[in-house]
């Protein structure tokens, strides 16, 4: 998705331009690098000054205060930080915030419907108790949604393989597979 397409995704009603400049503490003042990015996060367009060293994960957490995206390793090994970038899943700890310039990021906070209704995958995770501590869960759910969209959720073996980048130390894997099997066919109807 390029920038022009992105403008189309963001309908005027959803688009709120939030600008943060050095000295404005409200968004955490990431740094006075003078490097600025223009991104859409959960349907909201933002212009942010970013530290060139900052990861997308740290941008989302420390500067946008979207705490649903978790840090479990900071090395691309656990999947807890999974977000959607232009609709594809990425581990946000392995990406520099600068690289997100002009792109659309969806975090777990942006997955539910505008009226707060749960995404079918979120409901399926509840129904199958596909979690325990819940720390890996936002990443699992972002991955699970992408896994279905990628067409990798058509068999148990496929789900297990394509969900293996998301570690769950509580060992909720049986529930996670069941949740995705349950949600996959319903997602096809429910997603735009």
């Amino acid at each position: 998705m390029n920038r022009n397409e992105l403008q189309e995704v963001v309908t005027p009603a959803q688009s709120i331009l939030v600008s943060t400049r050095p000295g404005e503490q409200s968004a955490g003042a990431p740094g006075s690098s003078g490097l600025s990015i223009d991104i859409v996060v959960n349907r909201q367009r933002r212009q942010l000054d970013v530290d060139p060293r900052a990861s997308l994960l740290d941008l989302v957490r420390d500067h946008l205060h979207l705490m649903g995206t978790k840090k479990g390793c900071d090395h691309g090994q656990c999947g807890a930080c999974t977000v959607h970038l232009d609709g594809r899943r990425v581990v946000s700890c392995l990406m520099l915030a600068l690289q997100a310039d002009g792109r659309e990021v969806t975090t777990i906070e942006g997955l539910a419907g505008p009226n707060g209704s749960l995404h079918v995958m979120q409901q399926a995770f509840i129904d199958h108790d596909a979690l325990q501590c819940g720390y890996c869960t936002p990443g699992q759910i972002m991955s699970a949604v992408a896994c279905v969209r990628e067409g990798h959720a058509n068999s148990v073996a496929g789900i297990r393989e394509y969900m293996s980048g998301n570690l769950c130390r509580c060992g909720a894997y049986v529930g996670i597979v069941a949740a995705i099997q349950d949600a996959a066919p319903r997602m096809q109807g429910a997603e735009p």
Partner: protein, 734 residues
């Protein structure tokens, strides 16, 4: 409990927040004007700091503070949790210049941004004087201590000597004598350890995911030399813990100190590579197990001898044979436990801390005995059940291990198993192995205080001393209250993990349910009585809020306490000081354990020897199951741990360097989704009639007692190879 049927299958009460990313873990707190910190750690195996050079770090733009040992004057080490402290080890890094182990923190860099803190930390350099060190069980310089001779309380830490095991062994016609090793492991919850500390005047608030908010509060106050009244610790949720977060770590006080020095809140999220050295870990162990049986298959004697790693500075005791002595009814039992002092951070608790390795050793030996006797391993175990505890002569509060074995065998289809190794195959030649193992885990109970408040607008708020770390504590205590007050569990609000509430004991050792549920239940019973007094004529269908409205009372509050049978009231005083105050598994009238049986199928590819685990059946006896849904998940999780322990997990050590080499999640292998097949779990679900008023025993730990042995026994059945160490890797089978 009171009701005759099973408890209702209620969805996880905190799941809706968890699937939306709304659950607040420690590091998710972001007070205004927050500064970020990063630790610098020692790069030698042992020795002394000569100089820490912080100039370059201070020159990094955004760096506000660099703390070293020179900035910690007045700070006191709190002490080791087994020595009346609240810390995971006695060494508090950055007090003094001694370096006890590789990876010990030597500096804390604080900056306006995380990026600047990281860059600053990379700029810190240090000079050391090095000293020789030993880091493995067998390294030169490792000091071997007989636990029975150590200043540890007796009889808890005495060797066991029941009957005459050596004589019975010598006379037994069939014997097994084998040595089993287990690798060091790290808990590795996905949540990293983190501290957010902020001061308001002389009052300190700490957000940190932990199993023990009161321990951190008391320990921190002691270290800083301030009153505990000035400290509040908040941890409503834990992103997994598994023993790692059961005591105070080094960074908490350093972050608090930095926040006080800077006059602004400070957050530290400890990187995983550093966590391998700055939290506890499961120590490596070596077990020699000797079993003797008569030809009819009656096990007459067992000798279980253990060597376990500890640190140079603390004694992490071995308690493994408390459980191995209770796995089967073996009338002559002797144990000997030894500790080996090495230059590591103090090892400690990790899900089934001693029992994971002990059950691997003991249940592997039982399997070896079954083959020596040519007896089916399920049948052999069933034939060696005794209704009482041979160690104390007391009855078990409940023991349904036979039922676990029978029901598990039935669900698994065990009757179709052929005894001979390598006798079962898939059509494509894949070797199939079926293995069984049992497990047990002590029931202990800690003191607990529950406060219950109902309001006329329908609010039912429970504040009770237990921490939620994914095990489903909130569901269990909510279900206990709901059961008594005849409401739905999701109508009960649970307030946990805040030192503003009643003081909570450490939640660990599978005692959370047996500790908090009886207190919550008692509070609900007291509340029911109080409501009855308000409106004696109320109908059965009357709600608590309806009764309050009828009586024109805005709210009603009760407080209930619960402690272990026979526990002195002094346990509450210890709890309030953040100290260990649990009692069990021996009580005045009985001994109490949870029990479990695991049945595992493995597939081994003949060419590559890759081991897969397509299915597991596990049946647990944990007394009454108060929260069926979360209990099932917890049990499956324990089985996943067993598979990881059997086939994957090992913290690699190089004796030349010290520390742990594979200190990240790419190299420390934990099970991934594709490693896990079907896991069918079931519960005996019979109330324990003696342990507490709710009939509950523990589950979280026993789940990981035995599954690794069942995998190893299945690998033997598939391949004919008896691997006597963990983990079992391809190279062991080629």
């Amino acid at each position: 409990m009171t009701g005759p049927g099973p408890f209702p299958d209620v969805a996880r009460v905190d799941a809706r927040d968890k699937v939306r990313g709304m659950t607040p873990y420690g590091a998710d707190n972001h007070p205004p004007n927050l500064a970020h910190a990063m630790l610098v750690t020692a790069q030698i195996g042992k020795g002394r700091l000569v100089k820490v050079d912080t100039d370059a770090a201070r020159a990094v733009a955004g760096v506000q503070l660099v703390l070293t040992h020179q900035d910690t004057e007045g700070l006191k080490a709190d002490g080791y949790l087994f020595a009346n402290g609240r810390s995971f080890q006695s060494v508090q890094p950055m007090i003094g210049t001694a370096i006890a182990y590789r990876g010990q923190p030597i500096a804390l860099v604080v900056a306006d941004s995380l990026e600047a803190a990281i860059e600053g930390a990379e700029q810190v350099s240090a000079e050391y004087v090095t000293a020789p060190f030993s880091v493995t069980l067998d390294s030169e310089g490792t000091e071997i201590l007989a636990q029975a001779d150590l200043p540890l309380p007796k009889p808890a830490f005495a060797d066991k000597n029941v009957g005459d095991a050596d004589a019975a062994l010598a006379a037994a016609p069939v014997t097994v004598d084998a040595v089993y090793d287990s690798a060091p492991q790290h808990q590795n919850p996905i949540e990293l350890i983190a501290t957010v500390a902020s001061w308001d005047g002389d009052e300190l608030t700490v957000y940190e995911s932990t199993q023990h908010v009161e321990g951190i509060r008391q320990g921190l106050a002691f270290e800083l030399g301030i009153s505990p009244d000035k400290v509040r610790v908040i941890s409503p949720f834990c992103g997994g813990s598994f023993g790692q977060k059961n005591a105070m770590h080094a960074q908490t006080v350093l972050v608090a100190l930095a926040a006080r020095t800077l006059g602004r809140p400070v957050k530290l999220v400890v990187p995983r590579s550093q966590l391998f050295h700055n939290t506890s870990f499961r120590p490596p162990t070596r077990h020699r197990v000797r079993l003797g049986a008569d030809r009819a298959g009656k096990i007459v004697a067992a000798v279980h001898e253990i060597d376990q790693q500890t640190s140079r500075h603390d004694l992490f005791p071995s308690m493994a044979t408390d459980t191995s002595a209770r796995l089967h009814g073996i009338p002559n039992f002797r144990s000997r436990e030894r500790l080996r002092r090495t230059d590591v951070q103090t090892p400690g608790f990790m899900r089934a801390p001693w029992e994971h390795a002990a059950a691997f050793a003991f249940e592997s030996a039982i399997d070896e005995l079954a083959y020596a006797l040519d007896r089916d391993p399920v049948e052999l175990r069933l034939a060696n059940e005794l209704p009482y505890d041979v160690v104390t002569g007391k009855p078990f509060s409940s023991r349904h291990l036979s039922e676990c074995l029978r029901r598990g065998a039935e669900l698994f289809g065990w009757a179709r198993r052929r005894m001979a190794p390598r006798s079962m195959r898939e059509t494509d030649g894949t070797l199939v192995g079926w293995g069984v193992a049992t497990g047990a885990y002590p029931s202990v109970i800690s003191p607990s205080i529950a406060q219950l408040r109902v309001t006329d607008d329908g609010g039912i708020v429970l504040n009770v001393g237990v921490q939620e770390m994914g095990q489903g504590a909130r569901n269990a205590v909510a279900a206990a209250v709901a059961d008594v007050l005849k409401v739905r569990a999701d109508q009960v609000t649970t307030l946990l993990g805040d030192t503003k509430g009643p003081p909570p004991h450490l939640t660990a050792g599978s005692w959370g349910t047996a500790t908090a549920v009886p207190a919550a239940r008692q509070a609900a019973i007291d509340m029911r009585e109080a409501l009855r007094k308000l409106q004696p004529e109320a109908s059965n269908g009357a709600t608590p809020a309806g009764i309050l409205r009828h009586a024109k009372r805005p709210f009603l509050e009760v407080e209930a306490r619960h402690q272990a049978p026979g526990a002195p009231d002094a346990v509450f005083d210890r709890m309030k000081q953040g100290l260990l105050a649990y009692v069990g598994p021996e009580f005045p009238e009985f001994v109490s354990f949870s029990f479990i049986a695991h049945f595992v199928e493995v597939h081994v590819e003949p060419a590559t020897c890759r081991v897969r685990v397509p299915r597991v059946v596990t049946v647990a006896d944990c007394g009454r199951v108060v929260s069926p849904r979360t209990a099932a998940s917890q049990l499956r999780g324990g089985v996943v741990w067993g598979i990881g322990g059997a086939l994957r997990e090992a913290s690699e050590v190089d004796p030349r360097y010290g520390g742990f080499l594979n200190a990240d999640l790419a190299e420390y292998l934990v099970p991934v989704n594709a490693d896990i097949g079907d896991i069918q779990v079931d519960f005996v679900d019979k109330p324990d009639p003696m342990l507490n008023n709710a009939g509950v025993k523990g589950l979280g730990e026993v789940a990981n007692v035995g599954p690794a042995a069942a995998v190893a026994n299945a690998v033997y059945h598939a391949t004919g190879r008896r691997v006597r160490h963990l983990p079992i890797r391809i190279e062991d089978l080629l």
